[in-house]
């Protein structure tokens, strides 16, 4: 494998199962069909003349943390928006759980078991923790044609969700406004990890956090993996990627540069792939 030439396109075998067969040319271990939960197959997303994502094929396994790295504008966010149903790919296919997935909205993706933790967290500050956990999935008690919120059940279940993931929150009835950055992130992640989701996508989960809070959130992400969930994260933090992930995909200007098993790569190699510089150049600069 020659890292000085990272633009080598991924194998362009158009048939339906590319990554399943011979993906070894870009350093990734070929996954077996059984444990690949998400398979992105030659997906492109163009906005008019802007080619945000071009022919990208990646996969993610259950029980693994998969990272996507790349510079700003590399197309990472557009790619995950295709997966989470915000965008519909211009071409290419997404397979989820072995079935072709065509989501026309985030709700579709959510129903299929894909949850996204947005960078903004999508929490409502003036609502309580449990109201946020159940936002738009409220449990109701029915009285004939009327239905009323079942607050007790939602409070209990929110509490269970958080304690299952060992998230420490003083009271489930507190407003989210009063929570720290780490707690808010933990609430958003716990919400995403509930509801029978199988893939949790996180966009820069620790970008705004301090050292201790980052550690807490990382523990939480590791717990999701231990639970057998597939986790897909976008991160700019190489240490974090090396610490957490099992598989890394590198993107540059809308294309996939390559994929690596995390234990077979190094931060330097990833930087080289991201920037297109050679490892020697990077070593000299350091």
């Amino acid at each position: 494998m020659n890292p000085t030439d990272p633009l080598t396109p991924p194998p362009a075998d158009k048939p339906t199962s590319p990554a399943l067969s011979k993906d070894t040319s870009n350093g990734a271990t070929a996954p077996s069909a059984s444990d690949v939960l998400l398979l992105v197959d030659n997906v492109s997303k163009w906005f008019g003349a802007v080619h945000a994502v071009t022919d990208v094929s990646i996969w993610a396994r259950s029980g693994e943390i998969t990272a996507i790295v790349g510079d700003n504008g590399a197309g990472k966010s557009t790619l995950i928006k295709c997966i989470s149903g915000v965008h519909t790919p211009t071409s290419g296919q997404i397979m989820f759980g072995g079935e072709p997935a065509r989501f026309s909205s985030p709700e579709d993706a959510r129903r299929a078991g894909i949850e996204t933790v947005y960078q903004t967290l999508a929490l409502v500050d003036d609502l309580t923790i449990w109201q946020n956990m159940f936002l738009n999935r409220e449990r109701v008690k029915r009285f004939g044609p009327l239905s009323f919120l079942d607050r007790g059940v939602m409070q209990r279940e929110s509490s269970n969700m958080l304690s299952r993931l060992q998230v420490n929150i003083p009271t489930i009835n507190a407003r989210v406004r009063r929570m720290s950055g780490g707690q808010r992130q933990a609430i958003a992640i716990s919400r995403a990890a509930s509801w029978g989701s199988r893939l949790v996508i996180m966009d820069e989960p620790t970008a705004a956090l301090g050292v201790r809070e980052t550690a807490r959130v990382e523990e939480l992400i590791l717990r999701l993996r231990a639970d057998g969930m597939a986790v897909l994260i976008i991160s700019h933090n190489f240490d974090q990627v090396m610490r957490l992930s099992n598989q890394v995909w590198v993107m540059r200007s809308g294309r996939l540069v390559g994929g690596r098993r995390t234990n077979e790569t190094s931060g330097t190699e990833l930087v080289a792939m991201i920037t297109g510089a050679t490892e020697e150049q990077i070593a000299r600069e350091e």
């Binding site: 909205s105 985030p106 709700e107 959510r110 947005y118 903004t120 967290l121 999508a122 929490l123 409502v124 500050d125 003036d126 609502l127 109201q131 936002l135 738009n136 409220e138 109701v140 239905s147 009323f148 919120l149 607050r151 509490s159 958080l162 304690s163 420490n168 929150i169 003083p170 009271t171 489930i172 407003r175 406004r177």
Partner: protein, 328 residues
Amino acid sequence: MSRTTTPEMAQQARIVLVLQQLRDPGFWADWTAVVALVLLVIVFGIASPTFLSWGNVQAILVAAAILVMLSVGQAYVIMTAGIDLSVASVLTLGSVVLGQTINRGWGIALACVLAVIASTLVGLINGLVIAKGKITDFIVTLGTLSAAAGAALVLSNGEPVTVTSVFLLRLATGSLGPIPYFVIIAAVVAIVGHIVLFHTRFGTHLLATGGEPEAARAMGIDTDRVKIAAYVISGFLAGLASILLTARIGAAEPAANTTFLLNSVAAVVLGGVSLFGGRGTVVGPVVGALLLTALVNGLTLLSVPVFYQPLAVGIIVVLAALLMRYQR
């Protein structure tokens, strides 16, 4: 902590929480209207012996009924981070529709229904233009304020009409036991408003839409629909209130009731509803409406000249707004 919480600990935590709340200026900001109402009742109660007589309390409650209903609708709209400047005009329009229908001999039931439909329709137009047309609430409802007032003038040819209806007369003067019908209707509106806000999915979605529209949309809430619903509710309640207004004055007047608009916004602000949306109660605005009505009533009892009343209302609203800065 949630893993090891015992009932005793929870009890203790609750007590600590209450004590913390009392020291927090934010708590007082949230309950401005209640605190002010209690103070007002004490002051006026001492200054004028008739203020707290049952007859006067009844009079205050009856006089507050229309404002209470408008304020509940206004509160819903303001909680979506909007504002409904058209409520008072819609009230007038509803009243004129009612009066004109009766005068054509179409019967009181149909007249009331048409009044409510016309008002609700204006609310629907407000909501649709704001949510779908993406035009600022302020401009849209300023437009419908004028349009509804104009429609009322056109329909009535600018002339007030006397409305004679046994039903309306009974509505205005009758009572169920000691409680006037007006008060019962306003109370039902307030209670239903409270239940919808805090015990239905729609209520939660309303607060989410007003507080963090991006987050609400990300969670799949149709924020446009929620907004439209809020304006429809405001229009509907203005329509109901127009029946009470017509019954109270025994006539349908095309004259604008701007005081109702200002007071409905004032009641909502006094009631601790954030003008930025996303937080508030129904109880707050209701108490705010009672406060404003009691203030005017008390000043009248003390023979303060009528001209001073708007001045007093204005000062109280601005003071309340100052206290609101401490809102958490």
